[in-house]
Symmetry: C2
Subunit: 176 residues, 2 copies
DNA sequence: AAATTGGGACAGTCATGTTGACTTATCTGC
DNA sequence: GCAGATAAGTCAACATGACTGTCCCAATTT
């Protein structure tokens, strides 16, 4: 039951990608497994492009995640970043030290609360993040274009559904 | 522009989850970033449930991935599994040794090619994989239910679009 | 008979994460 | 104003999962 994928659809950024549609009884094991597998392969495929750049810099994915969220929310505190990434202070500490020594990330004392260290990218940090983002964007833009606008809405809805309701406000807060 | 998510929709498995729909100009940076972030948080959220079970067994995610694909394609060869996971022979070797010593995975000599080692789960391996799958399924089924059938089709289409065309046949081959 | 392929094994390294305990500075509530 | 909570940094030790490189064996292919 293999569904052939039109290879030429990659260039034509208008025609929706044809894949097996979800059946009315869409909670069967195979359909769950299809979601699990596509999520795994889609995620690793998207990430792959940035890995080459990171490796050339001697950085890893952990550094990328920090750069990404600092770019997304300039001036966020160390604690907020820990909460977003779901790692311990010690793990993040080493990553932030690396990024600080390379002058990719700067820390400022918080204005409202002077215990906080607010994180921002330096110019070179922003440049690196932009290069990494371009890699992810290329992959994501192609997928959006192939799948079509309606599919993108569904993509977002299912992914948000995977996030436990308690964690959703934090994810939504990244937007706008 | 934070969109409040109905918390009660989690119980009612019929009403589609309301999220910001993709705009006509859906290639703007914010919409790309939204996809990146939801993919990250959705993936890690789905995985999280299985981690507790794995930890109790003294196993890690690498073991889970092998168990998953052996359950999905019983009798696949070591080389096929290496190709699916995108890891080196050495990395997989240790994982398969662990799983073998715990009698969760069995190897049989290939019939067509006797150099191959074909992998299958033992009874206890299948039982463990089933428990792990149940965790992922709970998360995925809830997301499917909240988002609705149409959204699931879009979810699949975008994810398949993320996979480089050259890799897609391998992903499709897991189905049916 | 020679070359290739599938798989296993050993040694060493690196990146990323963990726990626990301790310090410093700062804020908040009484 | 002081006690306790909080934000952050730090040290040490450790586990996991990946890597590279090399060597080997058995089976298949040419």
């Amino acid at each position: 039951m293999t569904v052939p994928i039109s290879a030429t659809a990659a260039q034509a950024h208008v025609s929706p990608l044809k894949v097996t549609p979800a059946s009315p009884l869409f909670l069967r094991e195979d359909e769950i497994r299809r979601g699990i597998e596509l999520l795994y392969f889609g995620y690793t495929s998207m990430i792959r492009g940035a890995d080459a750049i990171l490796e050339a810099q001697g950085l890893g994915r952990a550094h990328h995640r920090s750069l990404y969220f600092i770019a997304r929310r300039p001036g966020l505190s160390v604690g907020e970043l820990i909460s977003l990434l779901g790692v311990t202070k010690q793990s993040l500490g080493r990553v932030l030290n690396d990024l600080g020594h390379r002058e990719l990330v700067e820390q400022r004392v918080g204005v409202a609360d002077r215990r906080q260290r607010l994180l921002t990218l330096t110019a070179s940090g922003a440049a690196l993040e932009a290069r990494l983002f371009t890699e992810l964007e290329r992959s994501m833009a192609r997928a959006y274009g192939e799948a079509g606008q309606q599919a993108v809405s569904g993509f977002w809805a299912v992914l948000m559904g995977l996030v436990p309701p308690a964690d959703r406000p934090q994810v939504e807060a990244l937007q706008g």
